[in-house]
Amino acid sequence: MDLNLSAEEMAFRDEVRAFIAAELSPETREKLVLGREIGKHDFVEWQRKLNAKGWAVPNWPVEWGGQNWEPMQEYIFLDELQQAPAPSPLQFNCSMVGPVIATFGSEEQKKKFLAPTANLDIWWCQGFSEPGAGSDLAGLKTTARREGDFYIINGQKTWTTLAQYADWIFVLARTNPQAEKKQQGISFILVDMKTPGVTVRPIQLIDGGREVNEVWFDEVKVPAENLVGQENRGWDYAKYLLTNERMGIARIGVSKQRIRRIKELAKIERYGDTQLLDQPWFREKLVSVEIELKALEITQLRVLAEARKRGKHGEADPNSSILKIKGSELQQVTTELMMDVMGPYVLPFAASMDDEDRTNEPPIGPDYAASAGPTYFNSRKISIYGGSNEIQRNIIAKAILGF
């Protein structure tokens, strides 16, 4: 038993750290530190740098740019990105559609899509959720009707993150409405966002940002060759994809970074005659969260160690549901602590947090205060998306406790 990184792991971590320090644009980093949304440009620039280094898609097959990393390496990599903080490689590309195409796609699809997907020349978005089917993903109603060499897609997707930047969308659609179980008869189809009949409507979230969208499909005509794998087998591919999503689900690095930031700011902020950070009650609140985070980090590492034993393509580990529950709670609670730092300055709403509306007005109060409220509001979604914490509890109850 040993909680320390091995020499190789340590060397790798230092390499990642040095790379980020050298290559990450200070503007992008500054936005992340201040809790502002980063724009398309930040993502693309950074992912291309990672791709040039060979680090954009480490989890893909080696022939398509993968690195064959150990789970631990992958974790170190993501953790360093989160702690920097730097953007992670775009997950829709790298953890979602890329691995699905690489595993189930045709040779033509691989050749056409994988390299530009890795380099973020194509920006993908995910067309899974629907208004009527949130946690009950398999209840989806969007249809893809086969007509000759085409599918005609009709329906509505929602919560489509960053669809406004997307070139392509991967869609789950019902190709056989007569299938016996609702999980059957679903297909996985790639759709060019420029196809006539695709409409994107942004949804503004309570933090003022517009990171998610509704995407409407009205008689959208898609070449049949854009079907991934077999017709009506899309649910299997989606499940495969969602398993990939779970690496780093707890986003411990994000919470660590935020706690460090809170400490910095609590030295600047005054409380009566002292620094806020000198207040025992504030330190107790902070250290209380740190303890849980430390515990979760070790829990995460234990899950990783198990993953290594099972091999990379094992079943989804239901223990990752523990990471999701606790990880989302801790991310949320750190945003509460950040509000505590600001005191009354949490109230002012600084125009809008997203790029387009950003004004050049000076901040109200300290410049770091503006994002505290919005970040807290936005953080409430973390325990909702990707399978709400209630769904995660159902999974654990069944898969681990055997209820």
Binding site: T158, Q204, G208, P344, P348, G365, R380, K381
Partner: protein, 379 residues
């Protein structure tokens, strides 16, 4: 022991409820109000004046209706239910109390008629929630004070025709003595302000005072003795805020339960899941506890002993803050995605409740205050 409203109070509740329903029943209207320069529609404010609620807390001699804390509670609860955006709390409850207790009655008619908004400017860059933490200097010069400094997060400050400024005329930054409340015409030379929306769709301003001259006659209460008046007024505002929170929480709990009964997943209403039912019950329990403490706050505001009053108010604020946080977070969670969207009302309740928890001191702050005072709250 009596928890009933008097007939007059019932009438008030009904009429304010109707007014709010007509102005806020359609949630889209609220977005319209927020587009106005200072974040609210002066026409709605004029209706408040007409309905008499702007003069509610003032005595009949002052041109008001002589409403007490229970009347304020009734109005604020309706405002909470409606998610109203007008600066009622800031102007009528908070500033109104200062004018009342400071015996500065000259501009009460302007408030009552809706002619002028009066905003309290007391917060400073490092003061946080401590009312005694005042640096902004008022230097005596002949028959004037000359103000120099900045005030932050002045609620209703964008629309204010007058500011009540907490200024230091003696002593050091955190001394209790030496704070003077001054009524300042917002058009006075040297004042500049920057209004902005707040996170919860209300409005505030940063105000800076550059050699602003204020006649000595504009002192509210007594020079250097402003803190007790300020503290009492803030206590009254907190009591009002508690009632507003109860209105918002009550609406939010109902809305969430309704949503659970209608929203289907996996072929059934999600309200059929026991875990979600029990969560809703926990929300209800928190709501009822908060309601009890909002009543406690209202009925303690007139306590002759300022320490007992402050303790009761702090206790209420702690409970309200905790309930608001739990109910806000859980209602968003139970709504799922739609709960975090701008177009749906639940998220706006959540945001308002979040800010209510922060305003005038968060739960932790008031808990520490109570602990330090050594007060016996329940036993």
């Amino acid at each position: 022991m009596d928890f009933d409203f008097s007939d007059d109070q019932k009438l008030l509740k009904e009429s304010v409820g109707k007014l709010m329903a007509s102005r806020y029943g359609d949630f889209e209207k609220r977005k319209g109000y927020q587009m106005h320069p200072n974040g609210f529609d002066p026409a709605v404010w004029a209706e408040y004046a007409e309905a008499g609620i702007l003069s509610l807390p003032f005595s009949e001699e002052q041109g008001g209706f002589g409403g007490g804390p229970v009347e304020t509670m009734i109005v604020m609860e309706e405002m909470g239910t409606a998610l109203a955006v007008e600066p009622y709390l800031a102007c009528v409850v908070l500033s109104g109390a200062i004018l009342k207790y400071g015996k500065a009655e000259q501009i009460i008619p302007e408030i009552a008629s809706g002619e002028a908004i009066v905003a309290l400017a007391n917060i400073e860059r490092s003061s946080r929630y401590d009312l005694n933490d005042v640096s902004l200097a008022a230097r005596r010069d002949g028959d004037d004070y000359v103000l120099e400094g900045e005030k932050s997060v002045v609620l209703g400050g964008g629309a204010a025709g007058y500011f009540i400024v907490a200024a230091r005329t003696a002593g050091a930054r955190r001394d209790a003595d030496g704070i003077t409340l001054l009524l300042v015409d917002a058009k006075s030379p040297g004042i500049s302000r920057r209004g902005y929306p707040t996170q919860d769709g209300q409005h505030a301003a940063e105000v800076s005072f550059g050699s602003v001259r204020v006649p000595v006659a504009n002192v509210i209460g007594e020079a250097g003795k402003g803190l007790p008046i300020l503290a009492r007024a803030v206590d009254e505002a907190i009591a009002g805020l508690c009632a507003e929170a109860v209105g918002a929480m009550d609406a939010l709990v109902k809305m969430t339960v309704e949503y659970l009964k209608t929203r289907k997943q996996f072929g059934v209403a999600i309200g059929s899941f026991q875990a979600l039912q029990h969560r809703s019950v926990d929300m209800l329990v928190m709501l009822e506890q908060a309601r009890s403490m909002a009543i406690y706050a209202a009925l303690s505001v007139d306590d002759a002993d300022p320490v007992a009053r402050g303790n009761a108010i702090s206790a209420a604020k702690v409970q309200i803050g905790r309930s608001a946080k739990f109910i806000g977070q859980q209602s968003v969670q139970l709504h799922g995605g739609i709960g975090v969207t701008m177009e749906y009302k639940a998220g706006h309740y959540f945001k308002r409740l979040t800010m209510i928890e922060q305003m005038f001191g968060d739960s932790d702050y008031h808990l520490r205050k109570l602990a330090a005072s050594g007060a016996a709250i329940a036993a």
